[in-house]
Amino acid sequence: MFDVNKIRSDFPILSREVNGKPLVYLDNGASAQKPQVVIDAVERAYAHEYANVHRGLHYLSNLATEKYESVREVIARFLGVRDADEIVLNTGSTMGINTVAYGWAMPRLQAGDEIILSVMEHHANIVPWHFLRERQGVVLKWVDVDETGYLDPQAVIDAISDKTKLIAVTHMSNVLGTRVDVKSVCAAAQDRGVPVLVDGSQAAVHEPVNISDIGCDFYAVTGHKLYGPSGSGAIYIKANRQQEMQPFIGGGDMIREVRKDTVTYNDPPMKFEAGTPGIVQTIGLGVALEYMMSIGMENIAAHEAGVRDYARSKLDQLNFLHQQGRTADKGAIFSFTLDGAGHPHDISTILDKRGVAVRAGHHCAGPLMELMGVSATCRASFAMYNTTDEVDTFIDALHLAHDLLG
């Protein structure tokens, strides 16, 4: 039974005030708050269970290694991956996508080869591919969304040519909330022998993800959006792709033997995990994912769909507000601008005075902003702990912003 009040009581920060008002935290797309179990796990790890991992033979090193390594299996279970060795631990999606760009794409792609991107990718899934364009003449092919923010999977598939070497696409837009039918994209791409990288930074927070079912080659997630510590994350890399990859970052942990004139690497996934990792952050992420799974991803998705529908019905009544992203099954992420002179930063500032935290800016999605013809928007992004009462507070604050700025 999903009890949002019980869940709210698990997140200590949600009971604080901001500017003298109860906090209404609607910036979850940027980063989610942390439940007490995660905070406790981080404290316990530092207070009682801390040492470096993998190298030591002493008690604490073994204990920390055990705790840290067990998270690989938790992430695999969370993402519907059978073999935990296909999970590469890292600091988040940016690191994961760069690992693929440097480790898989750069050594393989040549001038004229193509990478297909949707126009609503986050900069983390754009800039690493720009590196390939700049440095080795790879061509970026963009697929637009329609006026509702819908990305037609067939349009992505139709963009595949003999030159296509990779499709990199989000599972859920961080700006529009648009869900992408990545399974259809993967099925068609697989027929053509084209690997698919899915940016799951947003989707994995809001819906059950089963990578075995999706059939992608790479799937990136970020811990701090998943109610876990910042600086934690992972990328799923299919075993055969791991074999094709070179290591991206060199250092400790990723090697088996180093001599003056030779180096042999560790087996994957550690081959792609150089240096002392975010030990405690990763342990915290494991606890966060267990927490989400104990609530149930289906339950979280159902609750958020309810909040989304309520928020949409309220926002639709505001004739001074323009929403970007209108697909019916979108995640509970709303981008909007106000008619008239109100700049998104003005709106955000006024909402903040009412305790309502939203994002204002380009949301690290330059190409999408360009397509929509705006330089910035406000974004309210909901999480499992948000309520319809908070939607009401948000709507009231929007009325005030319109009144002050109109």
């Binding site: 700049h343 003005d346 002050l404």
Partner: protein, 133 residues
């Protein structure tokens, strides 16, 4: 010692109890301010470190320090108007001595000067101080 124009704003603010009225007043000050000519909205006049776009155009008039400004955000535009009231008309050698933090505190707007606020008041003040240095 602040200018008469700024003292007038301080007096107006004394009648405004809550933040909504203060913000409304700041926004109104911005609305009342003349637009900066598009010709001056150029890179060299841009204030970096602001989340929105801000331009300040500096000049002197009868040896007194002056600037005009603009922003695409209404609250920031209002804050530009407040800073113009604070600084404009001062002798050049007195500009650096203005304690912007203390003066804005009199309006209850000093939180806009904290280092990590991205509205750019701090960057604007720094730019003003650089110009007269």
């Amino acid at each position: 010692m602040a200018s008469a124009a700024f003292e007038e704003i301080v007096e107006d603010f004394e009648f405004l109890d809550d933040w909504e009225d203060r913000y409304r007043h700041v926004i109104d000050l911005g609305k009342a301010m003349e637009d900066l000519d598009a010709a001056f909205k150029v890179d060299v006049n841009k204030v970096h470190g602001c989340a929105s776009q801000v331009w300040l155009q500096f000049y002197t008039e009868d040896d007194m320090f002056r600037f005009d400004g603009d922003s695409d955000a209404m609250i920031v535009r209002g804050l530009v108007a407040v800073l113009r009231a604070l600084y404009n008309g001062l002798p050049l050698n007195e500009v650096a001595a203005v304690d912007a933090h203390a003066e804005l505190a009199r309006l209850g707007l000093n939180d806009h000067l904290s280092a990590q606020r991205s509205n750019g008041v701090r960057s604007m003040v720094e730019k003003i101080q650089t110009v007269v240095a």
